[in-house]
């Protein structure tokens, strides 16, 4: 019953589970944490934007809301600096969903480029508010209670929490793709008005997808806050985040299940590694940009689609070859 595809999934998951047990250097497990956060966020973003074609360039709103919700709640509830903080991560996700409802009600009334522009505008409203309101700590940011864990094991809980978010996002994305709801999102991507004329309640479907995708992104932001122990508006409401998430998904394959996972894995781990290795903050941008251009120019549908097309072309060629041989024999 074990199909080749499933073996791949199990192998990848096993590798991710084993990684911090084998690699204990905190520098590298940190890279693992950031990479997994991006894998989860990109997968969740793709579950709406990739499936429906509504490219949301304001996903940092969900990320920031998750981060601030956790930080403010920890302060408010006097949560001590220990594993209890982790319980607030899903709360950050829910807060991001609640915020996504009014945002979606506004942004989803328009389509295509206008939608993209509106999501960017809304993002800047949030960034500005976080910088200027006093309850957010303004530009000096907010501190979380210190977690007194030993350095050697400090990263492990964060790593597995990030892995849990990624697995959750991937399972949800998979379930959505198989559901009727997911089919409706794809129909909206291809021709929204036609879908409406076939009984699809397009606005409700879009708003639901938009809101659902905020959950894992909010959790990602919340986890990020706990991991760093402090947050600043410019780091959690970061326009680079908005763009990275979209680029990672496009790089891997927009609207596919594995694309965002692969895109985030490659791009984020590479970026983190190059930044540390060469202690040059902008080198990665050049490599990142060049790699991205290559993919967009030569594999416009992303790596995953390119590879699967290549495989089906190859098997088609083989079948063709077999036919020729048979033809000669007869």
């Amino acid at each position: 019953m074990l199909r080749v595809r499933n073996v791949w999934w199990i192998g990848a998951l096993a590798a991710l589970v084993l990684f911090p047990l084998i690699e204990t250097n905190p520098t590298y497990t940190s890279i693992g944490i950031f990479t997994l956060i991006f894998m989860g966020c990109a997968t969740s973003w793709n579950m709406f934007s990739g499936y429906s074609g509504y490219i949301n360039l304001g996903s940092a709103v969900s990320y920031g809301v998750g981060a601030y919700t956790l930080t403010l709640l920890a302060d408010h509830l006097h949560v001590p600096g220990n594993g209890d903080l982790f319980w607030l991560i899903p709360v950050g996700g829910f807060a991001a969903m609640i915020v996504a409802v009014p945002v979606g009600l506004v942004a989803l009334r328009v389509r295509r480029h206008t939608f993209v522009v509106i999501t960017i505008a809304i993002f800047f409203v949030f960034q500005l508010s976080a910088t200027n309101f006093s309850f957010t700590g303004g530009t000096s940011g907010l501190q979380l209670p210190l977690i007194p864990w030993l350095e050697t094991n400090y990263n492990k809980p964060f790593y597995y929490a990030a892995l849990a978010i990624t697995v959750f996002a991937a399972l949800l994305s998979f379930a959505v793709r198989r559901s009727r709801f997911g089919l409706q999102l794809l129909a909206i991507r291809d021709d929204e008005d036609r879908a409406a004329g076939l009984g699809v309640k397009v606005f409700a479907v879009k708003l639901t997808g938009f809101t659902m995708s905020a959950f894992a992104v909010g959790m990602g932001g919340a986890l990020y806050a706990v991991f760093l122990g402090q947050i600043y508006p410019q780091f959690v409401f970061d326009p680079i985040f908005d763009i990275s998430i979209a680029l990672m998904s496009i790089f891997g394959g927009l609207g596919t299940l594995t694309g965002p996972l692969l895109g985030a894995l490659v791009l984020e781990s590479m970026q983190q590694y190059l930044t540390i290795r060469f202690s040059n903050g902008s080198l990665y941008l050049i490599i990142f940009g060049a790699l991205f251009l290559i993919v967009v120019l030569f594999m416009p549908q992303g790596i995953v689609v390119y590879l699967s097309d290549w495989r089906s072309r190859r098997s088609a060629r083989r079948a063709e070859g077999a036919r020729v041989v048979v033809g000669e024999a007869s």
């Binding site: 009727r180 709801f181 409706q184 794809l186 129909a187 021709d191 036609r194 409406a196 009984g199 699809v200």
Partner: protein, 256 residues
């Protein structure tokens, strides 16, 4: 016979252009009704108003005694009015079968879609049955974008049918299609009509309309000019005038 769908003095202007001007029409249950008229006379606009894609300035649309004048497209479809588009519209990046499945539940709550799979066994069977009916079942697993022009027309017809609407509006089903396929489409319509389906058909191919339709309404400059049986229409001098007067679209008139 009872009236299934009726349009009462609908007007619709685009800026200064009066696309529909007090246009009325009725479609009897179980009939095949034709809607003809020169280019630009407002036939497609009337379809858009009926199916909720355009809001009229005045007038009303009634379907099975319910007022559907300003009801949106998904609701109109849920109530049982299906349509095809003059320029065929399919979902090109999903498979032919998935195209069919989009339409299988015309009146399901949106939340239900989250908790159920893409299709039940019976929906799948119905989808395949209708694909078989229009003769493209062997393409079920192909991406719809790879279909030819004619196959797209058939797919659009099939996915409107799978939802089992009471009345189907076809906008130029024979437009740009070869003769064999035209006859095939006419046969399908006829056999569906025998099974009780009602049709409202916009078509330029006169032979197609005259052979198929029980009644025909002629539109001219946004208004219904005359209605009658095909032979009445054929012999009505006003109809000839409307067509000989050239196209209602000014630019087309200049071109010809």
């Amino acid at each position: 016979m009872t009236t299934l769908l009726s349009v009462d003095r609908i007007s619709k202007a685009f800026g200064g252009l009066q696309a529909l001007n007090e246009c009325s029409l009725s479609v009897e249950k179980g009939s095949i009704t034709g809607l003809i008229g020169p280019n630009g006379s407002g036939k497609t606009t009337l379809f858009n108003v009926i199916t909720g894609y355009e809001k009229p300035d005045s007038g009303s649309v009634t379907f099975e005694e319910a007022d559907i004048t300003r009801v949106g497209p998904s609701r109109v479809f849920a109530l049982g009015v299906g349509r095809t588009f003059q320029i065929t519209r399919i979902f090109s990046r999903i498979t032919v079968l998935e195209n069919m499945l989009v339409a299988t539940q015309r009146d399901e709550g949106w939340l239900r879609g989250l908790t159920r799979s893409k299709s039940s066994k019976s929906e799948l069977a119905a989808a395949m049955e209708w694909l078989d009916f229009v003769g493209i079942d062997r393409l079920a697993s192909q991406p719809a974008g790879s279909l030819s022009f004619g196959q797209r027309k058939l797919l659009e017809l099939a996915y409107v049918l799978v939802a089992d609407p009471d009345v189907i509006l076809l906008d130029e089903p024979a437009g740009g299609v070869n003769l064999t396929l035209i006859n095939e489409i006419a046969d399908k319509i006829q056999s569906l009509n025998k099974g009780g389906k009602t049709f409202l058909i916009v078509e330029h191919n006169m032979e197609f309309v005259m052979n198929l339709c029980d009644r025909v309404t002629v539109m001219h400059q946004g208004t219904d000019l005359v209605s009658g049986t095909p032979s009445e229409i054929r012999n009505d001098p006003r109809v000839l005038d409307a067509y000989l007067g050239g196209s209602d679209d000014d630019d087309v008139e200049e071109a010809s």
